[in-house]
Symmetry: C2
Subunit: 120 residues, 2 copies
Amino acid sequence: MKDVVSNCPIEEVMRVLSGRWPTLLLYYLKDDTKRFSDLRRDNPTLSHRMLALELRKLEVAGIIRRTAYPGYPLRVDYDLTASGLRLVPLIDALGDWWENRTGDHADPAEKTPEQLVSAA
Amino acid sequence: MKDVVSNCPIEEVMRVLSGRWPTLLLYYLKDDTKRFSDLRRDNPTLSHRMLALELRKLEVAGIIRRTAYPGYPLRVDYDLTASGLRLVPLIDALGDWWENRTGDHADPAEKTPEQLVSAA
DNA sequence: TCCTGGTTACAAAATAGTGCGTAATTTACA
DNA sequence: TGTAAATTACGCACTATTTTGTAACCAGGA
């Protein structure tokens, strides 16, 4: 089951946004235009292969724009598209939610679990 | 580099939400309380093992609540916590963004790419 | 024996990292 | 003047690591 076309927008966004790198790259590109080598320097734990793959994925998804200039040495710029920019606050909202989420999974039950049992 | 503690909330949410199942489960539990076996029936492509793993991950993250009743046959209910419910609209927003994102990655450049080159 | 909700061990599959190759021009240097 | 070396953004093949699936096992009562 490789590429199941989902027709569900949420499933599709998540396919693009899942993983460590997409949101990270989003943030590196949020305010600036960056080059491939800039992004690599920005975080060394991201291999050039992954960077290339992720950048392409985000480009195809219309989140970032790739601008290649002719001549050598090569030169390619990356920045967010208008859509990409609109995505940023949504991701921020997730971050805020995470920070402010209550620990209500540990609270004194509101669902009459009189016969509640501690997990196996 | 196994479990890098990120201190970045966005990185942390994405670690929980990444993959096919988290958001799907969120939707199955959005309005109803479900049992393990319900969720399995709801979508057969999710293996028994993965369901157990994902449910635990979401529980630890405070997104869903697990309620186990004593006695056999076993009986365990799952539903969203208050935090989990608050997460739903944020995920919806992502879905909306995806559906309405413009194809501006293909538009007539607004960034003077006079010497633009088609990608390799 | 079946039921439910797991867990574990092992195998298979998907995903990520490493290192080499490449292109066209400039600079380095003898 | 000729040539070797560096530069940048990848693609590719091979390997390492991680994730996921499969199947078997458990508990204890009906």
